[in-house]
């Protein structure tokens, strides 16, 4: 389980934002540190980040 603990501490690398866009609108995303989510303001949806890995699967997005 030692490996898992290490992964939990991983935080989101904000330099990724340079490359990532919303998979639906292809527009840039904003990182929200409080909720640890990637937000698309235009569509009003947010994508979760788990263990530092952004989840950009449209089905997993949350409506804000």
């Amino acid at each position: 389980d030692g490996v898992k603990d290490k992964e939990h501490k991983q935080s989101f690398d904000t330099s990724l934002l340079e490359f990532l866009v919303c998979p639906l609108s292809k527009k840039p995303l904003r990182y929200d540190e409080k909720t640890n989510e990637l937000i698309n303001e235009e569509l009003g949806i947010s994508y979760p980040i788990i263990d530092g890995i952004p989840n950009l699967i449209p089905q997993d997005a949350r409506m804000i």
């Binding site: 690398d13 340079e18 866009v21 998979p23 292809k26 840039p28 950009l56």
Partner: protein, 360 residues
């Protein structure tokens, strides 16, 4: 079945249907009185020998063959297996062959993307001298966490049908054995083209053509015999002849498409099925049958062994791997000469003895 003659007729009829690719709306489900009709009126087989074919009107966005959520669950399950490594043989092999093709290009790629990386099967065969940074992308978080590679990587959970990357981002996009579960393959190619930089290259491998034809035929024959009809258990694959056109339509140029047959020998049909499940390659077509009778399975296993088995009792499973290489156009790339710019007639070809460069 009464005689071998029958068997071959059936095989021929099906090999025609196997050639159908997903975007031609291949859905064969109706099973009644020896007639097999496509849901989308694409094809009707009457009996075994005479079949008629109607071309259905093709409309955009009508392709929805695979249950993507189901596929994700299957892949997640497979990646979470304790002994999952033992099912990686095919992906490792194809991954290394894709990596070979990457090494063929004498370049260093500052930023690359692996679509449907699984347990980093390609990345493990690459090195950080060739790829400086790599994005690993898959639909299952379990797979993303499996292996560490020497290349600095970013991991992103995303769907192959919805790439979450900016335009003109990558110098190289690779993909190994994940594109065959995509509903909208032309769209996926367009998106890959979109995220590539000009003069960027896409190197992909997918199963296609006659992959698993032994399994397909055995199951179909067994089901016909035991249940009087059959449902598709092996998904429709892309034909190699369509692949070049698809890539061309998506905007790629300087295309290379080639096929590799990989035959794997198994003790029997059940081992084939078990391994496919372990690879996360179970059927996920929307019109899949929820269950297969044990009786039919046993019959299929017997047919498999009878028709394809080798002398030592093992049975082969064929995987036809289609490799594709396509470049995003850039002005620095080689182009055909302008029309009419030739200064020699083709009729004079026979008269040329020396190479043309010396003549000038």
């Amino acid at each position: 079945l009464d005689n071998m003659n029958n068997v071959f007729i059936v095989r021929r009829a099906f090999s025609t249907s196997c050639m159908l690719c997903p975007w031609r709306r291949a859905r064969k489900v109706v099973l009644s009185s020896g007639q097999l009709a496509h849901q989308s009126q694409g094809l009707v087989f009457k009996g075994c020998t005479n079949f008629k074919r109607w071309f259905s009107s093709r409309t955009a966005n009508s392709m929805n063959i695979f249950d993507r959520n189901m596929k994700r669950r299957q892949k997640n399950w497979a990646a979470a297996l304790q002994d999952g490594d033992k099912y990686h043989y095919l992906r490792d092999e194809v991954g290394s062959r894709v990596a070979d093709r990457v090494f063929d290009i004498a370049r260093t790629f500052p930023l690359a993307l692996d679509i449907g990386c699984g347990a980093s099967h390609i990345a493990l065969h690459l090195n950080k001298e060739t790829i400086e940074k790599l994005f690993l992308m898959d639909v299952t978080v379990n797979a993303l966490k499996l292996k560490e590679t020497e290349i600095p990587t970013y991991r992103v959970l995303a769907d192959e049908e919805f790439l979450p990357f900016k335009e003109n981002t990558f110098d190289l996009v690779v993909s190994s054995l994940s594109l065959h579960w995509i509903n909208d393959l032309p769209g996926a190619f367009r998106q890959i083209h979109h995220v590539l930089k000009p003069d960027g290259v896409f190197i992909g491998a997918m199963v296609g053509g006659e992959t698993l034809y032994e399994l397909r035929c055995s199951l179909q024959l067994a089901e016909l015999e035991r249940e009087g009809g059959f449902a598709p258990h092996v998904s429709p694959y892309t034909a190699v002849t369509d692949l070049g056109n698809l890539l061309g339509q998506a905007g790629f140029n300087m295309l290379t498409v080639d096929i590799d047959d990989i035959q794997v020998y198994y003790p029997g049909m059940f081992e084939v099925l078990n391994d496919l499940q372990g690879m996360g390659e179970s059927n996920c077509a929307w019109n899949r049958k929820p269950m297969l009778h044990r009786d039919t399975m046993l019959a299929a296993a017997a047919i498999y062994k009878e028709m394809y088995g080798s002398e030592d009792g093992s049975v082969p499973a064929t995987f036809e791997i289609l490799y594709m290489i396509g470049w995003k156009p850039h002005e620095s790339q080689a182009k055909p000469a302008k029309r009419g710019s030739a200064n020699m007639s083709f009729g004079d070809l026979g008269k040329i003895i020396q190479p043309p460069s010396k003549k000038q």
